[in-house]
């Protein structure tokens, strides 16, 4: 984690030649389907999936409705945590909430004690050296009228301070001078004045108690035709895709607040649509549309200088959000992310371009790692079918060994080619090209 934090702080600003260094770490949330993830029959396959997409942080939830109570069901909760470690990631444990009254000093104290006890249990089970690298998130979407109606920042600050001090009480002795990775407020950015929470969070709380700030962003919460959303599906999807630029704006806004304070900037939840009806949200989230939306969002997070992203979510049974189901069967979004993490790795030098040809439909990202291997990612975000000469897209004198592509026609598999001079996208899709030996990051998952 030391090197991770070091690399977090160094990159992000443009380099002399107009490129920038990626500081983005990849991650996911594992929440409602924690059983499948932690103790299910397909947990090993799910672990492979997580490694295949270079998952470095997995956000899990304590004191929530769906997850095991770490006090009364410690063995189950420990298996939840162990599944994260088995996937080669570090956990971000979210102390989700307690029931009102939020103003009651005794209740706040009781909650902080429970959080501290959880930290102590983790240290007992996995040791202080390991546990000090973990993330501890206080609360979930405190600014959301839906999830926490009437909750105020002043109440949140009080809870945060109590919990952070209780976490430090146990973890502090292992930190060796590092700042503890405690953070919040995990805000819902659909809410007006969401940035107020972040401003107050970093200005009104001792920064030595803040390791990261967390913010959430979905593209929409409405179905076509609802609450002023266009009825026409093509228009609706066009607007959704346009909003991926918002990830850049949000990441940059947060970066300006936290960068000089040594605080990490983490998009803690992202996906396309959070509509309550799975039939609506699944179609947007788990299709090739969802894949392209997510990859564009990742590129914008890179541009904006985000330190990490946590997709909502990894395992989701028959739900509308997951990268795979309870059996570990992947969606198009998983395959797209797998391609991207192989092309763009943390600390790569990257250049984001809108090519001369079809710039309203294409985005190109070039990446170069320390070993001088080069990769290119081409994102096609138009629903029209189009072919491009590779020389027009990647005009530089770079010899790419192979091209891999996923689009609307190939939705269930990645297509690999080595010799084509053109690339054809059948609607929405993305392609990656690599020189040298750029391959799977960890694990062995190949083409599907």
């Amino acid at each position: 984690m030391n090197d991770l934090r070091q690399s977090f702080r160094q990159p992000g600003s443009p380099t002399a030649n107009g490129t920038m260094r990626s500081r983005l770490r990849y991650g996911v949330n594992e929440a409602t389907e924690w059983r499948e993830f932690a103790v299910g029959a397909h947990r090993e396959a799910i672990g492979e999936r997580l490694r295949a997409i270079d998952t470095q942080i997995i956000r899990i939830y304590a004191f929530d409705r769906y997850t095991p109570d770490p006090v009364s069901l410690w063995p189950k909760f420990a298996r939840y945590v162990q599944a994260v470690l088995d996937a080669g990631a570090v956990p971000m444990i979210t102390f989700t909430r307690f029931r009102p009254p939020f103003d009651d000093a005794a209740t706040v104290r009781w909650f902080a004690r429970r959080c501290g006890e959880l930290v102590w249990n983790c240290i007992e089970q996995w040791g202080g050296e390991a546990t000090r690298e973990w993330y501890w998130c206080v609360w979930n979407e405190p600014n959301s009228e839906w999830i926490n109606p009437g909750f105020t920042f002043d109440q949140y600050r009080r809870i945060y301070l109590e919990v952070a001090n209780e976490v430090l009480r146990w973890i502090g002795r292992y930190l060796g001078g590092r700042r503890a990775l405690i953070g919040g407020p995990a805000i819902d950015t659909f809410q007006p004045f969401w940035s107020d929470w972040l401003w107050r969070f970093v200005h009104e709380i001792d920064n030595s108690l803040i390791g990261f700030v967390l913010w959430h962003r979905f593209g929409d919460w409405r179905a076509p035709g609802e609450w002023g959303a266009p009825r026409d599906v093509a228009t609706y999807r066009d607007l959704l895709m346009m909003r991926t630029y918002g990830y850049f704006e949000h990441a940059e806004t947060v970066r300006q607040l936290v960068d000089k304070r040594g605080i990490l900037n983490i998009c803690g939840k992202l996906n396309v649509n959070s509509h309550q009806e799975p039939s609506v949200s699944a179609e947007a989230n788990q299709s090739i549309f969802g894949a392209v939306y997510y990859i564009l969002a990742l590129v914008q997070l890179l541009r904006g200088g985000a330190d990490a992203e946590l997709y909502w979510m990894g395992t989701d049974g028959a739900g509308p959000y997951g990268l795979w189901n309870g059996q570990g069967l992947p969606t198009a979004v998983f395959m797209a992310k797998q391609m991207v993490v192989q092309a763009i790795r943390p600390n790569d030098e990257i250049l984001i371009e809108e090519p001369e040809v079809d710039r309203d439909a294409l985005m190109v990202v070039r990446a170069r790692n320390a070993g001088a291997n080069r990769s290119a990612l081409v994102v096609h975000f138009s629903e029209c079918s189009r072919s491009y000469r590779i020389a027009d897209l990647l005009a530089r004198d770079e010899e790419y060994a192979a091209f891999r592509k996923i689009d609307a026609a190939s939705e269930s598999r990645i297509v690999t080619s080595t010799s084509d001079s053109t690339i054809t996208f059948d609607g929405l899709g993305l392609a990656t090209a690599t020189t040298g030996t750029a391959g799977p990051v960890r694990g062995t998952a190949g083409d599907f």
Partner: protein
Amino acid sequence: MRKGPADSVANGAETRSVRLRYGVNESDSWWHFALGPRRERIWQLHREMRTEIVRIFLFDKNAPDPLTEWDLFRSYVNAVLAVGATPLVTYAKFGRPLDDPRAVRWFAEQCGEVVWHCLEEWGEERVRDWHWCVWNEPNSTWIGGGVTFEQYRDIYESVAHSILRWLKPCLLSRRAPIGGPAVEGFQPFWEDWIRRFVTEIDPELIGFVNWHRYADWRDHGEKDAPVDPATHEAMMLWKARDYEVRARSVARLLRDCDVLNVCGEWNAHSHYLPRVRARFNQTLFGAAYGASALLSLIRGGVDAEMLWTGTDDACGYGVVGPDATPTPLYFARRLCAQYIRYGDAIVMPALDGEVAGLDGMVVKDGNGRRSAVLVHREPTTATYDLSEITRGELSDSRAYIKVDSETVNAGRTRSCNGTVSFSGYGVAVVTNAVVGQDFASEVECA
């Protein structure tokens, strides 16, 4: 209004050209602006703020009915022309059923009729430079009546065709000076309106897009706003950077369209009670916020801005009272307009690092004038070394002009000794060539 000059990079330093035109809204207190006993002084103050565009309203905001009160409307427009500005006429709304095609046609006919009357009254040469805005905040149920985009699109196209029926012959090759949707920026999904506006409406009918932005509408402690005034104000001042973010966001949506990017309504605060919003808008805090917002709009590449509002009779927004008494924001705005002019070059980044509490911009004109516009965004006293904060860009500065609590809410010019001091929130210009002599002056003009 025309598209602004291009930016350039030379000798490793980025130089951007100012493309901003300054403007104001004259709305609820239009009578004082147009017919009040102090109107000529108000017009003079507008000229000193280099007001080039005045947004005026029809069919709302107690504006005169152009059909039954033409004389009053004539005075309203003549006041704009007396300032030396051009009007941006906003057809604010209508009260008939939005889905009724006959109602839409009736409204469009009325709008066209206004254009015809204006052409008759002021002639083609003048009227072809005016702008016409269709509806006001259609995405806000409170202000614009909760119009759907589909309804708005039908209304817009009908009105635009009706305007062009009379205006087109005198436009020659110019783009239609018609625009919308004047979206309210607090609403979620406000960008959707801009995107749909420029993709679903015939581009021949669009000359500009208009968007609105305030920092807040809550009083201290209201709806989870900070109870502590200092915290609330500091947070609002930080959010002045949103104007740049939004300007760029809109510019991205307009990327391939030859359409102007206009922030048609802005100020610090839009609380529903005038006495509350006045505390934010019409104080030195409002001056600092307003100047910082202007710098952000300039950085964001906006083509025009229109402050809400110019003349103000107890509404809690305006920069000039009915008796022509200016607020601190008047002086701040005037400093910005005098020293950051259309076509001037701004040096990026302006200040050395991020000097805590200070926002600013270094500006050069084509005649050797170099100035720094500085905004002190903290309520405390502070002194800054000019050469440090501007990297020596202004070594020959002779004067500084400032507005803060020391100047008793007025501008004051002093000789420059290499430092700039602020007493609380304030705005200052340091320059090697003073523009005009109408601030109380302790130095000779260059």
